[in-house]
Subunit: 364 residues, 2 copies
């Protein structure tokens, strides 16, 4: 597998004997097996000079294989000392690691102490930045899943629009959306679905409730799905009945700001510049103080991952990065509007994954 | 606050200067403030000889106070080095800790290395078992929240029963339940709601789907809510139309097994014995091989916490422990049945929090 090979090359280049990968998202990234093991041990062990293995709770070993892992799968039961089983699997490979890479931002002190007990002579280094760098750039297989997740998010927005009717509550619309998504085979949304109406749209982190929608409201949908382990995240704001001129003006400003950033995406552009392109449009229209958050965030196995698109991130975009672009204006006295797309940096520009129309939809 | 005092006593008794509590659930337990800070630092610092403080992302500091924390609240922004802010707050107390307690099963290596850098002379010890022991025993304030969470779970089962009708799918019933709970002010279920019908009830971890319910099915509901940070977890199995004699027999066996364990709860009984009381009823009825999991699990801020009620846990029950009792029979050719209550160990016996009837409900 390509990703395991890349880890092995990293071990080779840095004189590391063993890498222990313990974050569930990174175990999934390397093995295809997704699970939340809670306090039980789940890890992928990658060696410079031997075959990798995965250690998982015994009852999950069949699922590990079903997920496509073809290497060794070592099971452990609750009555076992899982680390002794790891140690045995390493010894079976004729290896006593003297330099070990761990996920320092994940592995807890208790486990670290166990590993140090097993290999008291070993030195340790972090694998975190290598894994972050790898996950930052999506390959074609990952992009396929992200495309499908985005397509389902588009569909969900369509469901939400169809559900809009006088007197319905935000929660009723939300429930209808999630029900349709479950029927489509989506077992989890990528975060709590947001349906906000009227002035509640002006709160970037509002909670959907019993408010009944009314003609003249903007209705803001922010939602996403998990598809084969990959997340989407879309926002659309639509009008229920005729909006006022100022609401239209806010909408069109956000739409231009969003499109400006989308159009500016290509390799070599800095994250901070992308944020600025979008923010400038909003500032020039006089709404700068109401755009209160960063432009966007990376998207993949996690709904918030690298890169972060904010005003002081000097990182240059690279082909294969995937992130959201989601400017907004939150005017407490008028309305809130946010428009959010998921985009991929391509060799020459951008691919937009979310395709629901951005022209203001007026639902009568 | 009583819990902070207990930590301070623990520090006193063990010659520890400072305890750093970093698990979000334990921060909530000690401060009343519930948050998922992701990669940002959120911690409670408790001292043997000084006032405690909480460090949180700056934007959350108002919420920390609103949650009832009256001590110092230190904020940090993304551009700050949060650990230097911690170090300053400790220095302001005139303290250079030489012995520090951490949550070894939570604090990651990266953070541990930062703390060691700040206090290179300090020695470290675990706070995990002390916190686990404290959380194991619920006080009256916690019990009030658990009672309310259980009451809402009872209500949810009632909703599910009312929704049962020929041709409805599992997902339709599930959606109706969750919608009603949202209207009741429940923002999160404590886990993915389960509605299974027909032979799907025979899978302890089945996934609700498009299956239409039919007369003659058993329908199994397994669900819970989070209320003011505390979880409930209930299972009821009901009949849609007349069940067969063997289905009735399985139901009555599980009911007797569940009640036998409930009746046996009192301080001093071992967890393993409680498991056995229930398992014996099922085994004597000839279904032993179909009861494939432990009797139950602790319940509180987390939906799975201490104690674990399984066949080799010699721990004696104590007043104030809260856990589920949930025997089941999963017969692949006939049906599955599980009945689950949430119970508290009282001075003399048991308080059952979940009150939905356990007599077989036959819905026509």
């Amino acid at each position: 597998m390509k990703k395991l090979k890349e880890i092995r090359m990293h071990l080779e280049e840095n004189g590391i004997d063993l890498a222990l990968v313990t974050t569930p998202d990174n175990v999934f990234y390397l093995s295809g097996f997704k699970s939340e093991p809670h306090e039980r041990l789940l890890a992928v062990a990658v060696f410079r000079d031997a075959e990798p293995f995965i250690i998982a709770p015994k009852m999950e070993v069949p699922d590990v294989k079903a997920a496509g892992w073809t290497g060794e799968s070592v099971g452990h039961e609750d009555t076992d000392d899982a680390w002794l089983i790891v140690e045995q699997a390493i010894r079976n490979r004729g290896i006593t690691p003297s330099r070990i890479a761990i996920e320092k931002s994940h592995l807890n002190v208790e486990r670290f102490e166990r590993v140090k007990e097993l290999y008291p002579e070993a030195s340790f280094t972090g694998l975190d930045s290598k894994l972050n760098a790898m996950r930052n750039i999506k390959d074609e297989t990952e992009l396929e899943k992200l495309r499908k997740a985005a397509e389902l998010a588009d569909y969900a927005i369509g469901v939400g629009c169809r559900e809009i009717a006088e007197g319905k509550t935000e929660l009723e619309i939300l429930t209808a959306i999630e029900f349709e998504m479950k029927k489509k085979g989506v077992s989890h949304m990528s975060f709590d679905t947001m349906v906000l109406s009227g002035k509640k749209t002006a709160s970037p982190h509002g909670t959907p409730g019993d408010r009944k929608i009314r003609k003249g409201d903007f209705i803001l949908f922010d939602l996403g799905v998990v598809w084969e382990g990959y997340c989407s995240d879309i926002t659309r704001t639509v009008a229920f009945g005729e909006p006022t001129e100022e609401m239209r003006n806010i909408y069109e400003t956000v739409k231009r700001a969003e499109q400006a950033a989308v159009d500016a995406v290509k390799p070599g552009v800095r994250a901070m510049d992308l944020d600025k392109v979008s923010r400038d449009v909003i500032t020039e229209a006089g709404y700068g103080e109401y755009f209160t958050h960063r432009l966007g965030h990376g998207l993949g196995i996690s709904v918030h991952e690298f890169p972060s698109l904010h005003g002081s991130n000097e990182m240059e975009l690279q082909e294969g990065m995937v992130f959201t672009i989601e400017p907004g204006i939150y005017h407490p006295d008028i309305t809130g509007v946010r428009i959010e797309d998921d985009v991929v940096v391509t060799a020459n520009g951008v691919e937009v994954l979310t395709k629901f129309p951005k022209e203001l939809q007026i639902i009568s």
